[in-house]
Symmetry: C4
Subunit: 339 residues, 4 copies
């Protein structure tokens, strides 16, 4: 299978997504359930568009033996600085082909086979969280469960389950705090003050990742709460319309917390070139959401591997063409931010 075939398969298999030539949030704007951004879709669209304004400084006058795309996180070594973002309720949002267990199996296995890791999701029903946990357990803990900002006791309970699954780390998408729909179904979510987050994070020895940070203040509070890392994320534009893009808030967050905690980022990242760009701006690694779903619907476990290696190859080439031998060599001098 090549990537073109994968896309054609995905086009047939996904009911809600057009698998556009450029996955930029325009055709699907406002489609929730579905794959779009909320409201005008501007959060998703701007994520994609702003990444286009960062350009690569090409320079091939240097000596090189080998390019190394690997990264160490959670005490483990990964082949590329890439994670599959948590996606849940796939029957609702993508179509009836897979349930969450099947979907996550493709993600977790495909990621593991290609040297990276997938995040899994959470929901009102227990199985939405627990089915993917089983997949993680069946794959030597090769996954990061992501918990919603429920009441504290519920969170602590789910963290314990994550520990039991052998997961490498655990995450919370704190930006799901405004999903009134969850409260209506009897499982309210809410914003969390630093003190409560401290209590939650200190309850486990697992590295804890706070997903959904979009301001310097938010990043500082995450650090104060003891997080291992943050994901600079606007949830793909699905929890609040008209946020800035993630890449335009990244530099100010980097300036404040770089080196003190890990900085992940998602939103509009499509290629190895995009990965290169955000690392140049100070991110440690990326999460990628929708294109991984396309990979699953277009090729299952094999599709996930194919897409992961495609990303890796593009990152490799971009490093080669700009004189970066390791991820640490990718710095601000290697990109040009267009005005």
């Amino acid at each position: 299978m090549d990537y073109k075939t994968l896309l054609e398969n995905a086009k047939r298999n996904i009911e809600t997504c057009k698998v556009c030539p450029e996955c930029n949030g325009k055709a699907c704007r406002g489609q929730i359930p579905g794959v779009g951004g909320k409201g005008t879709g501007s959060g998703f669209i701007r994520n994609y568009d702003e990444l286009r304004k960062i350009k690569i400084n090409m320079d091939t006058l240097y000596s090189i033996d080998e390019v190394d795309t690997s990264i160490e996180l959670f005490g483990k070594n990964f082949k590329y600085p890439v994670f599959a973002a948590p996606i849940g309720a796939v029957k609702l949002n993508y179509g009836k082909l897979y349930n969450d267990y099947e979907y996550q199996m493709a993600i977790i296995q495909g990621c593991k086979n290609s040297g990276v890791v997938g995040f899994t999701g959470d929901g009102v029903k227990d199985e939405t969280y627990e089915d993917p946990l089983k997949v993680i357990a069946e794959n030597d803990g090769w996954g990061v469960p992501t918990i919603k900002p429920w009441k504290k006791e519920e969170i602590l309970r789910k963290i314990k389950l994550a520990e039991e699954s052998g997961a490498l780390a655990v995450a919370m998408d704190i930006d799901a705090a405004g999903l009134a729909l969850l409260g209506m179904q009897g499982k309210p979510v809410s914003p969390k003050p630093v003190e409560e987050m401290q209590e939650i994070i200190s309850s486990t020895d697992l590295p804890f990742i706070l997903k959904g940070i979009m301001t310097v203040n938010g990043a500082k509070k995450a650090l104060e709460a003891g997080a291992y890392g943050i994901v600079v994320s606007n949830h793909g534009g699905r929890v609040l319309d008209e946020t800035p893009s993630t890449v335009e808030v990244l530099p100010e967050i980097v300036e404040e917390v770089k080196g003190k905690m890990k900085i992940f980022i998602d939103g509009g990242i499509r290629s190895g070139l995009d990965i290169f760009k955000v690392i140049a701006l100070g991110a440690d690694a990326v999460l990628i959401g929708r294109p991984y779903a396309v990979a699953v619907y277009g090729g299952g476990t094999e599709g996930v591997e194919l897409y992961t290696h495609k990303l890796g190859k593009e990152l490799y080439e971009t490093m080669l063409m700009s004189g970066a031998k390791t991820l640490k060599d990718i710095n601000e001098d290697k990109v040009k931010i267009l005005k």
Copy 2:
């Protein structure tokens, strides 16, 4: 009824407006009579577009009990900082379904039922001003009549009628001063110097709102004239083409008069997110025009209520997602203005 049904009804019931997915002034440009902006429609279009350049800084790491969207104005408490803008001559501009009395009844009642207030309009014929006044009187004064800049005696007479109706406040759309058409029908309008405005405003104890301020100088003169508040407004682009948008003149006006008088704003505000944005830039409250007309034609009194609560819910969510517990917490730090 849900909002989608409301829009479908409106599409059937309005003869001049396409009820576009984004109410941005493009499809209707130049249509007067009708719902468009004058000439190239740029005043209307820019109002909408410039609001898209303000983004919300999402932060959900804080402690919260309850979000309060209420505001106190004219010594009364309102559920949301929202007013329906004055719209008149609806048969001419929207279609034959309603006359001005019926239209205003839906506005005034719908607003009152949902905890906010509507403005009413004025025109060459006496009934254009007086019919809506009856509606206000029948609804415990729950409305703000808006008088055109006629000759002084006519204005003073109409202010007395407003007082008799029990209206909460009275307004003048001073930017109607260039409507030569009114003069041709025997009722000339004209710009008003500060001295004349002082005389007019001091003739009543009602809070007096000057609508149609687009410059710092204009705001200072309104303050000098004794106005309770101003509406930063370009009349939806209907009195002069090629003005700036209201949101781009707002900050300089806020810097000059904030705290000395109330600052309302209209122009392109469509959602609770937009309300949040202009409050962050220093406005006290907003007026919304065309979408309220859509609400009337799509659902009458019930439509007005539905749309008002939709706005309120969006404002509530935006406050929740950015850590604002009351309107006073919505400040410049909570938005990002894109370059």
Copy 3:
């Protein structure tokens, strides 16, 4: 006849121009012969687009008796600061309905009847220059002949003819210096150094206008040469592709020569609002080209009058809505230049 009918007539009568809703140079790009700008048409297009970025600061809180749109030039008083730009070879560029004599008759008479003045053109054949001169003579000298940058003797001869016609002033479109086509037909044109221009200008007592100035240096040289005024013009984008727009070079030219000579401007000016804008930036008056041709083909002499008064009325309204009682009151504070 109203303006809508005029446009419909013009659409039928002009063979080369689509009479677009916005006359912005896009549909006709590259069409020479025809009405377009040269090459990509960018000179024409940018003229129009950049004017859209200047906005009017509306303010109606002031005292006003009457708005006066008149201007004094060449010792005469004109109703509006408006001139019809020179257009020649109309059979070639517009269609077979009119010859240059008939075309200019409509322009010169229509302008005179509405209180303004038209420029006339020049070409390889003697009659292209001399036929319009007859029209000027038949209308009490109410016109400004425009001479191409031929060899000096030819220019001096044509200036004498202009004097004999009783013309108010005489002009030269110095930016025609690169039209190689003219040289091929045996009448070469060329750039002119200051010394030669001094000799030419001092040969006559008529006010001399240099048309086609796009730089501060050019304006200084025109002043040194003794010109009565300049026209900031890129020849509607028809002599060189990819020039700046006229309105974006206007401010720096104004800063250098304002008050020392008259500053006219053309390029993309379509309405009284556009006239207001360039006067606010320091121009004394405007030339308008293509829309006057549309007026001729849509309504002859009457069309020219109708369009002139339309411009005048728009200028009047804009002055009324911004507190400018005379042209001198239109200054930089009355516009906002968008970034």
Copy 4:
């Protein structure tokens, strides 16, 4: 034959290129093999678009005898500062009409006949490099062979062949270093450190041109390596997606190395106006790629001559219209860079 006919012929003869009215990289984005830019095509597209943002300052008030467009390079005099860029594998990228020998014959002869010079290409097979060399030899050395960054021995061997052909100069497209495809076919390419480049360049007395420099650092290293000149180039967007445009990195490179080595540039240059612009920004001469291929497929040798003289005439006119008598007079004051 005129240029319009040439374009029509080309449209018929090229299988992969639509010969668009504006050759801007949009219709062909991503088409490799073919004529497009890699991936999203943004490298090609931005080259073209950014050149549109530079405008010509028109001034025709000066004395002029003759405009001289000639330039001296490699100790020879050329009629225009124009070179045909190296294009190879034309059967694959353009269609079956010509093989590389035939294609290069049209380029080399057409260029020679019109007073300029063409570059030739290289590839995995020996004949891809050597067939064009024969053409150069048959045309008195009137060509510049371009070698890929192979292993050093292979490069040195090919330089010797270039010398034997009598070529005026020799070049290397160092930005081909990332073409993994070449390695798969048994001929790996790679980035080259300064030391290796010094050894390569010092092996020959021919002027050596390094093509594919996009950063100040790269330019400094090329200078250190002893290059006669560089080509500021992103390879038409075909080796790495999402690079800056060449014209936006040109000024900083000029500031660093101007006068110390020759600065060529390619990317989106289509007309004599574009040539004027980049010379104003500090380039010495330009390479033009795709439009020369269109000229070959549209008119063979004659087409190449026709296009070259078209460029020359446009450059001549632009110099005439801006007061530049020689290429040295074309400086920054003669252009305006739009913000």
